[in-house]
């Protein structure tokens, strides 16, 4: 499993410590919110809305440097649009790893 990192955030922030702190704060706030939305649609079996949620989460996956995970998410998003949950387990492992990483920031 690839590891999340802050390379993109560090590159964006440069020496701007305040901006880096702001991005991390947004990440810590938005990621659980977006995950909760995904889980609520999952509980209802609403595949189209789940796909929308995955689409939103993709940005955070890429921000955390998870390139291979991004492609899994993209494939999973397409599967959901075709009424399939293939790759759901893989995607949810990615989410858990992201949450664990962000919790330690």
């Amino acid at each position: 499993m690839e590891l999340a990192n802050l390379n993109y955030i560090n590159e964006l922030s440069g020496d701007n410590v305040e901006f880096k702190a702001k991005l991390i704060a947004i990440l810590k706030k938005e990621l659980p919110e977006e995950l909760a939305v995904y889980e609520s649609y999952n509980a209802r079996g609403d595949f189209l809305q789940m796909a929308q949620s995955v689409h939103k989460l993709k940005h955070k996956i890429s921000i955390l440097g998870l390139e291979k995970s991004y492609y899994i998410a993209e494939e999973y998003e397409n599967n959901l649009k075709n009424n399939s949950t293939e790759l759901q387990a893989d995607f949810e492992i990615i989410l858990k790893n992201m949450l664990d990483f962000v919790a330690l920031l």
């Binding site: 993109y8 702001k22 947004i26 938005e30 189209l48 689409h55 939103k56 993709k58 940005h59 890429s62």
Partner: protein
């Protein structure tokens, strides 16, 4: 250039704002997490450039562009590479940025925005009547100076949202600057029924009915108490 950012994701807005702040030619005028707030702002404020997300709840970025008068230059920002072709349909879209945005790609987009000059003629979005509307199988609406034909049997739901009407068909959605009454007058009364002050439905598209709502496709449409008797009467005839 005065810029606004429209994206429901706070992280995306923060990143774009940072790029704008570092650019000497750009000023952030405002940020919006939804398209409706942005439309109200644009009606009252001069804006030169919009950074616009495509996927937003209720309004897509393309729906948003179709509803505003005199759209300024737009740079689309999205995680989805698949809309690049559709983006070319819109004169005001000067570039298309795929998230996560890099500094180099952002700079290139601003160079394109600086190089493009838009027509100054207003692009009004309004509804128009034509002779063809006597044909009960179709009617026309005026969107972005183009007459768009809408096939009546494909219309499923018509919804009023503020100054705009959302017309949902089986294959596409349209947003028109009009009133619900004007659209209602174009639709055959034996097929369409106003079930709520904001909704007209195609009765042939009803999948299910509950006490206060009907299911059309995946949409649950409220039925007001005053309109319910007519709906029940109509369904008995189906």
């Amino acid at each position: 250039m005065n810029c606004i950012i429209i994206d429901d994701e706070e992280m995306a807005r923060a990143i774009i704002a940072q790029f704008i702040t570092k650019h000497t030619d750009l000023v952030i005028a405002n940020e919006f997490s939804n398209a409706i707030s942005a439309i109200k702002y644009l009606n009252q404020n001069q804006t030169d450039l919009i950074f616009l997300d495509i996927h937003m709840p209720d309004f897509t970025g393309f729906d948003f562009i179709q509803t505003i008068k005199n759209p300024p230059k737009v740079i689309l920002v999205t995680s989805d590479k698949n809309f690049a072709i559709e983006a070319f349909e819109y004169e005001c879209i000067v570039d298309y940025l795929v998230k996560p945005i890099t500094k180099e790609r952002f700079e290139k987009a601003i160079q394109k925005a600086n190089a493009v000059k838009l027509e100054s003629a207003p692009k009004e979005v309004k509804e128009t009547k034509t002779k063809e509307e006597d044909n009960t199988n179709e009617f026309y609406v005026n969107i972005d100076r183009r007459l768009i034909k809408i096939e009546i049997p494909l219309v499923t739901i018509v919804e009023a949202k503020g100054d705009y009407i959302h017309i949902k068909t089986e294959n596409k959605n349209y947003i028109v600057h009009s009133t619900l009454k004007k659209i209602e007058d174009k639709l055959p009364q034996d097929l369409f029924l106003k079930v709520h002050r904001s909704f007209i439905i195609n009765t042939k598209k009803i999948i299910d009915i509950e006490d206060n709502s009907v299911l059309i496709g995946k949409d649950v449409i409220p039925v007001s108490r005053s309109n319910r008797p007519e709906l029940m009467k109509r369904l008995n005839l189906l």
